[in-house]
Amino acid sequence: MYRTLDDIFKTIKTDGQKKKLVVAAAQDDHVLDAVFRAYDKGVVEPVLVGNTEEIKKIASHEGYDLTGISIVHEADPVSAAVTSVKMIHDGEGDILMKGMVDSSSFLRPILSRKFNLRQSDTLSHVGIIELPHYHKVFALTDGALNIAPDLDMKIAIVKNAVFLMRKLGIEMPKVAALGAFELVHQKMQATMDAALLSKMAQRGQIRNCVIEGPMSFDNAVYKQSAEYKGLDNGVGGDADILLSPNIEAANVLYKSIVYFAGANPACVILGASVPAVLTSRTDSEDVKLNSIMLAASVDFDK
């Protein structure tokens, strides 16, 4: 169990072979800022794929030292994404990161059969969050990729998150499948899906985790609230993973945690053979750095 993100990052080995971070269309000042902060900390070895001229321009303007950093010239952002994914496929990189390329062009080659990076039925987004009011870091999914996941997609999203948490050393992560309340209601699909997921985990159809649901947000993260509702299930108040019923709930929850509670989560895209970092320009510098650090903390192939 990790209390803070720093506790996770302490596990990164800074001596010897560093993780190779392949940045697709690296000519992006915000992304390069985060990449160089991670590089300076000694946690990754960047490989910049993109427009060499523009990358050098940003570097000289911001004072980044490009000595010893490999740059692969690929002026077209879409081609840069393809080249980056091919490098991962060829074993020349350990982490993917999105630069100055739109998200769908970045994700398309990851999903392409040609490069065989896909490990899961669905790619999904996970935010790992540290808050002073919760006793450990927890995962929130999926506030970015899957809009209105059906049961099958929710299963894949849970599996992805469980995979990551297990990589972080939590053997049997506790998953709360969120609904507006804790009862099964025929007019609220989220509550029915949650009940099904819960049973599927019980039946071993979703392995290596405990799933409890439907749970309201407070039941999931606040023990007294769970007890008050008579939810004596081991997950209430101690969830490792919060599964949102849809993108809106997760996205709003994520942003309220960031903007009102001042958190700086670490986010990765899961479902491929390597972690992918996809940050948005509105993410803080810390979120971008934390996301790279999180990706560098896990070994997907072990």
Partner: protein
């Protein structure tokens, strides 16, 4: 724990209150024979409603003695139904029995039971419940619903469970164990029955269905055999020990019922539940013993 139907009979010996059974629209000789035996064995007092002339004819042909038995003459079946429901309403009758063993009879009585003015509905649904004594099972086990709810949806299934649980609790099973049957024990999206079973299980956990433990989906074998459940890696309190089997639909329930009767030579007593009083609803296929046992079971609710 009740092991046999005879145990229910024993329970009856200790009762304080004598109860009256009203048999409505009596047209079947089988029904007449059963209620008379129940009366003779001092299980219930009886009251007959129907075509008095026909009832007396039937008694004469079969050599039954009707002396001392009140008969209310009502030739219209629906009115007979309403009359008996009124008697229940006025607390003059405590068990309702259908006098004609055919679909028309069930329908007419059903309409009277849920009549807006005189109806005696208690639960959200009226459902059928059959209690079996099997040599190969360690206690009495209920099957529901073999007759009334043909293709129940989630809400109806919850109501059917509630009726069965209410009944088992009256029989003294404090927290009945309910197995929700399906073809397999895993959740499968192309089998809606398995999804409903999972939801019912969760609804009981959340207290939306009270006073019972519901486990599902379970295949028949891992419902009744703990060993099979363990073999499948399913750990739960219900497997191997259910008090109630909830079938996914009337066909499945009916086939379980009939296979118990024909292949396992089981003893059975069955009732319609969900009204303020138990309703004895027998079928032409039932044996005389089953009819009498069903009356016995209804009376035992007052013991």
């Amino acid at each position: 724990m009740l092991r046999t139907i005879a145990d229910i009979g024993k329970k009856l010996e200790k009762r304080k209150q004598k109860v009256t059974l009203v048999a409505t629209a009596v047209q079947d000789e089988n029904v007449l024979k059963a209620v008379l035996e129940a009366r003779d064995r001092d299980v219930v007092d009886i009251l007959l409603i129907g075509n008095e002339q026909k009832i007396r004819q039937m008694a004469e042909t079969s050599g039954a003695d009707l002396s001392g038995i009140s008969i209310i003459n009502e030739e219209d079946n629906y009115k007979a139904g309403i009359d008996s429901v009124k008697l229940v309403h006025d607390n003059r009758a405590h068990i309702l029995m259908n006098g004609q063993e055919n679909y028309h009879g069930y329908a007419v009585l059903g309409r009277a039971v849920i009549d807006r003015e005189y109806g005696i509905r208690r639960g959200q649904r009226i459902s059928h419940f059959a209690l079996f004594e099997l040599e190969s099972y360690h206690k009495l086990i209920g099957i529901t619903d073999c007759v009334m709810n043909v293709n129940p949806d989630l809400k109806t299934k919850a109501a059917i469970i509630s009726n069965a649980v209410f009944f088992m609790r009256v029989l003294g099973v404090e927290n009945p164990k309910v197995a929700v049957l399906a073809a397999v024990e895993v959740v499968n999206e192309s089998m809606p029955v398995t999804m409903e079973a999972a939801m019912l299980s969760k609804m009981a956990q959340r207290g939306q269905i009270k006073n019972c433990t519901v486990e599902g989906p379970l295949a028949f074998d891992n419902a009744i055999s703990k060993e099979h459940a363990i073999h499948k890696g399913i750990v739960n309190d219900v497997s191997g020990d259910p008090d109630i089997l909830l079938a996914p639909d009337v066909e499945t329930a009916g086939m379980i019922y009939q296979s118990f009767v024909f292949f396992s030579k089981a003893k059975v007593a069955s009732l319609a539940l969900g009204a303020t009083v138990p309703i004895v609803l027998t079928s032409k296929l039932d044996s005389h013993e089953t009819r009498v046992n069903s009356i016995l079971l209804a009376a035992s609710l007052y013991a």
